[in-house]
């Protein structure tokens, strides 16, 4: 059991390192894009609201593998090309996760009493200021747990990249099968690897909850 890990240590380290890189880059980008989209969805401009709503409904209803397949097999046929398959994976994960982040941020915004925004506007703040200074900081407090869930889902979703030429943790079983290693032990070690990656996220959630707790 242990020898499966130690004999193939390099493969596991390389795989999980790629997983971690995919996750961190996609997480940062999707938090940014998701928050921007949420801003679109609550903005006073109807056209922006329509863009936000359209994006969320299209992307949230498209399976992630299709988003991947579209970028890796579809886009080159339309002369759209990303530098490497790693970046195709980052873009696919970001586009997909942003839709979920957007809805969570929007639900957080909805927990803020309209009086807050009205008060902010009455002192002459612009929409961007109302959102950025008054509403969003309060909204994020309410959405720490669901946002953590989406980030954990993103971390696990990175394994889909293995099917699209990114050698991350999800690609380990294929190589191990070829090396004639025990598949059961391989899968157990991969599960343990993901647990190790997810546990810090859980602690981060607890910390954020404590820090932002009211009263």
């Amino acid at each position: 059991m242990l020898s499966v890990l130690t004999d193939n240590w390099e493969l596991f380290v390389d795989g999980f390192w790629t997983t971690l890189r995919l996750f961190v880059i996609a997480a940062v980008l999707s938090l940014a894009l998701g928050t921007l989209l949420a801003g679109f969805r609550v903005s006073p401009v109807p056209a922006m609201r329509a863009i936000g709503t359209g994006y969320v409904n299209v992307v949230r209803n498209t399976p992630l593998t299709l988003v991947f397949a579209f970028l890796v097999f579809g886009a080159p046929k339309m002369q759209i090309s990303l530098p490497t398959f790693f970046w195709s994976a980052v873009v696919a994960l970001t586009l997909y996760t942003s839709a979920f982040v957007c809805e969570i941020v929007r639900s957080g915004i909805n927990t803020i009493s309209p009086g807050q925004a009205e008060a902010a506007r009455s002192v002459g703040m612009t929409f961007i200021q109302v959102l950025g200074i008054v509403v969003l900081p309060q909204a994020f407090r309410a959405i720490v747990p669901p946002l953590t869930s989406v980030m954990i889902a993103l971390l696990k979703n990175t394994t889909i990249a293995a099917g699209f030429s990114v050698a991350e943790a999800g690609a380990i079983p294929a190589v191990m099968a070829e090396r004639g290693q025990n598949q059961m032990a391989t899968l157990v070690w991969i599960t343990i690897g993901f647990l190790i990656l997810i546990i810090p996220l859980v602690f981060l959630q607890r910390w954020a909850e404590r820090r932002t707790a009211v009263a």
Partner: protein, 306 residues
Amino acid sequence: MRMRNLVATLGVAALALTAAACGGDEPTTGGGGNAASDACGDLHKFDVASGVDVAGSATFTKIKSKGAPVVGVKADQPNLGYKDADGKRCGFDIEVARMVAANLGFDPDKIEYKEIPSANRETAIAGGEIDYYVGTYSITDKRKKQVGFAGPYFIAGQDLLVRKADTSMDAGKTALKGKKVCSATGSTPIQRVKDEQLTEASNISEFKTYSECVSQLLDNKVDAVTTDDAILKGYAATAPDELKVVGKPFSTEKYGIGVPLADKALRDKVNSILETSASDGTWKKIYDETLGKSGSDSTPPPLEKY
């Protein structure tokens, strides 16, 4: 206000559905091997043996209780293991699978096929998901520890599939340095490219199927697809104006029929079926009807009865 929102949402949802449908079509059309002329023709007619019994074979008993074998195959390898647009299967591997079934006493038309990707073959055989596997399955010492192999029934060699206009890799494997190479995830050919450092690690792409690699090759995203020449010739035949096989094989791949490791009785039986087919001309006949169409001649290889 409420009503207007509802209408807007429904409108967007409808838009989403159409967009998703478009996205769904894209990868299939881009899957490579999409020539219209590659539909499967008539399959070989085998005489079904009667009164067959394989003493001591647990797999045979299992097949008998089901009435037909469950066979693991590939579905995207033209002339070897292929499934056409109508869902019909054909190719040399399929014919071998049918021949084995017929000689075990089961109607080949009743075979239940299961498409098993390269990486999952050992698990599928060991777990009893399939009874035997015929799909460009190279006999290697490592695999022999997990799977029993009957055969070989064919010998191939690793080669390169490149774009027709590209002459930079005509020398074969030594010309691979600096080129982008694609093969199936975790497969033997891509392991060899890595082990012999034929190209840089960053230039290696791995997809689940070879057809996905061929699609990348046609889109100029990779420069070569590498695996056994038998498989590559099949792809080249589907797009002869765009693709070619370099023709400098640099390995020996002996294709075997994978059976459960413990089932030596079944392995011996399949070996004798292959032996008979070589001597009575059946092997040659089914070869000429499938792989032989690519123009290269072949003879049945000697069996390895380990």
